[in-house]
């Protein structure tokens, strides 16, 4: 119990009102709900392209010993990547302006709200959106016939966990960003992850590079989601989940410490 508490940064432990930050985001997005709805169509188009396009060219693939068609193989990877991209977007773009320009957090911190509330609230918002996207993504996958097991429902918490890991680290990263130009580095980090995380080809095809997959957080996310939607989970998911959790807490530590330094100096 005490050890479990100790992995949580002190300012996070004292958070009392993170839900207020989420309430604020709901107020903002109440008017721009269209952005959220449009989030449904993006995965749909992606999935369609793998179904009608790529799927015709590429043959079947084996996942944990189960042979599936290519669309079934690649859809969970796209779902995991979309969870990553959404979380990174929400925790960087969405936070940067409030942090550096409009001084939104300075105003928030003049109230009983603290750094822990801001940190958890913004990550919480990213997760809430992630939950929504993951759900619509899964619905799209069911519609396109790329889901073959009721275990697929577990892909949703898996995506939330991916979101947690990337949102925390995104929040930590955004505290180091000085200007909008620095955002050019974000794809530099996420693009290779997207391409080299057993997304488009199975881990076995990575040959002697295969051990390198282990250091890609998205690989662990893809493995989790894929084992859920194909119904092929085994004990290895514990390792993948642990990796993502560790990454999430690392981001929480760095992010909350940095925010504290930037906003309460």
């Amino acid at each position: 119990m005490t050890i479990a508490l100790r992995v949580i940064p002190p300012v996070i432990r004292t958070a009392r009102r993170p839900q207020r930050m989420i309430e604020r985001s709901l107020m903002v997005y109440r008017r721009t709900w269209i952005i959220i709805v449009s989030g449904f169509f993006e995965p749909l188009f992606y999935l369609l392209s793998t179904r009608v396009g790529l799927g015709q060219l590429v043959g079947d693939v084996s996942v944990n010993g189960k042979v599936v068609d290519y669309a079934t193989f690649v859809a969970p990877a796209l779902m995991a990547s979309s969870a990553m991209n959404g979380a990174v977007y929400d925790s960087t773009m969405n936070v940067f302006d409030k942090l550096k320009h409009s001084k939104t957090y300075d105003a928030v911190l003049a109230t009983p709200m603290g750094i822990g509330d801001v940190t958890l609230g913004e990550i919480g918002w990213a997760l809430l959106r992630g939950l929504l996207y993951a759900t619509t993504f899964l619905v799209a996958m069911v519609m396109l016939g790329t889901v073959h097991s009721p275990w697929a429902l577990m892909a949703i918490p898996a995506c939330v966990l991916i979101g947690f890991a990337f949102a925390s680290c995104g929040l930590a990263a955004v505290t180091f960003i000085r200007s909008w130009a620095d955002f050019g580095w974000v794809p530099t980090a996420t693009m290779p992850l997207f391409l080299f995380s057993a997304t488009f080809y199975p881990a076995s095809s990575y040959g002697k590079w295969r051990p390198l997959l282990q250091i890609s957080p998205l690989y662990h996310g893809v493995a989790l989601v894929r084992s859920a939607t194909t119904g092929t989970a085994d004990w290895s998911i514990l390792g993948h989940a642990t990796f993502l959790l560790a990454m999430a807490f690392f981001g929480l530590w760095v992010g909350s410490k940095r925010l504290n330094r930037l906003l309460l100096s």
């Binding site: 009392r16 009102r17 207020r20 309430e23 604020r24 107020m27 903002v28 409009s102 001084k103 939104t104 300075d106 105003a107 928030v108 911190l109 003049a110 109230t111 009983p112 709200m113 603290g114 906003l263 309460l264 100096s265």
Partner: protein, 308 residues
């Protein structure tokens, strides 16, 4: 302890090895309007941020409502209203939403937050702009909205960091009027300014800050009485002649200040001093007799002007 919501002893703030606030002492009485008057970089905002629990002090004691900001920040902040130097309204929300969400940060129910928001918009005369986006407001309106926002939790003490800097005279007068009403309702006001007229208008008591230290303290009237004469004669000579005209005027009044653009003679009887200057053959381009202000106090204490 008396009824003093804020007491500071040896309050110090360092940024790296730069001393922004250098061991200052002050106490603020309940219900008064207390001012920090000082030029750019005097340490006013640094002091306000320490009181507002958003900047940890480096050393010294600071007690707010009898609590310590380093242990009880949330409890203290629940009873404070804060208007920061730089506007920090929520640009992604409308005018009324700014107030409602702020109320929520203070744990007000939605209904109560909405009720108070409507009331406060009335108070700062922004009811018609209730649904506007914040960025469409003028500077003066933004400042009024920020003040309304700071009142959503019905604070006992309101911290106002340069509430009217950058506003036109009319907007400033509207603000002063609102602040005056707050004071009448018994709210303690703590404000910083580098405008002497603002300090004279609003403050019961003030401290003059310079270079992180407090150099004088008192009511506006007593500061002027203690540190300046009743009248001031301002003489402007042709360019570069101010310095050269000084020797001939020595001994008139109590004291003389030579500034680049004018000469100031401090005297209890300004008219008499001006006549004496004329009698000695001084031919300034313009001459003016006026009452001493806090500006003169500041010049006396620091050798510099408040606003540069």
């Amino acid at each position: 302890m008396g009824d003093q919501p804020i007491v500071a002893r040896g309050l110090t703030k360092l940024f790296g090895d730069f001393t922004a606030v250098d061991g200052i002492d002050f106490q603020i009485e309940r219900g008064e309007a207390f001012g920090f008057l000082g030029p750019n970089g005097a340490g006013k905002s640094s002091t306000m941020r320490m009181i507002g629990c958003v900047s940890p002090r480096t050393s010294g004691d600071l007690s707010i409502f009898g609590l310590d900001p380093s242990n009880d920040a949330a409890a203290i902040k629940a009873r404070l209203g804060v208007v920061a130097q730089q506007d920090n309204l929520d640009e992604q929300l409308t005018v009324v939403e700014n107030l409602v969400i702020y109320g929520r940060y203070f744990d007000l129910s939605r209904a109560e937050a909405k009720r108070r928001a409507a009331e406060l918009l009335e108070f700062v005369q922004l009811t018609e702009r209730s649904k506007s986006q914040v960025e469409t407001l003028s500077g003066g309106m933004k400042r009024r909205l920020t003040i309304a926002r700071s009142l959503i939790n019905q604070p006992e003490v309101v911290l106002l960091d340069e509430p009217t800097t950058g506003l036109d005279p009319q907007a400033r007068h509207i603000l002063w009027d609102r602040l005056y009403r707050l004071k009448q309702q018994g709210v303690t006001l703590v404000l910083t300014t580098h405008y002497m007229d603002e300090a004279e208008q609003l403050c019961d008591r003030l401290v003059v800050m310079d270079g992180g230290r407090i150099v004088a303290e008192g009511s506006p009237r007593s500061l002027i009485d203690d540190h300046s004469s009743k009248d001031v004669v301002e003489l402007r000579f042709e360019a570069d002649q101010n310095e050269a005209s000084a020797p001939a005027l020595h001994g008139i009044g109590e004291r003389m200040e030579v500034l680049p653009d004018r000469l100031l003679i401090y005297a209890s009887d300004g008219e008499a001093a001006l006549q004496e200057a004329h009698a000695r053959g001084a031919r300034p381009q313009s001459a003016l007799v006026r009452r001493s202000t806090l500006e003169d106090v500041f010049l006396r204490l620091t050798g510099r002007n408040l606003v540069d």
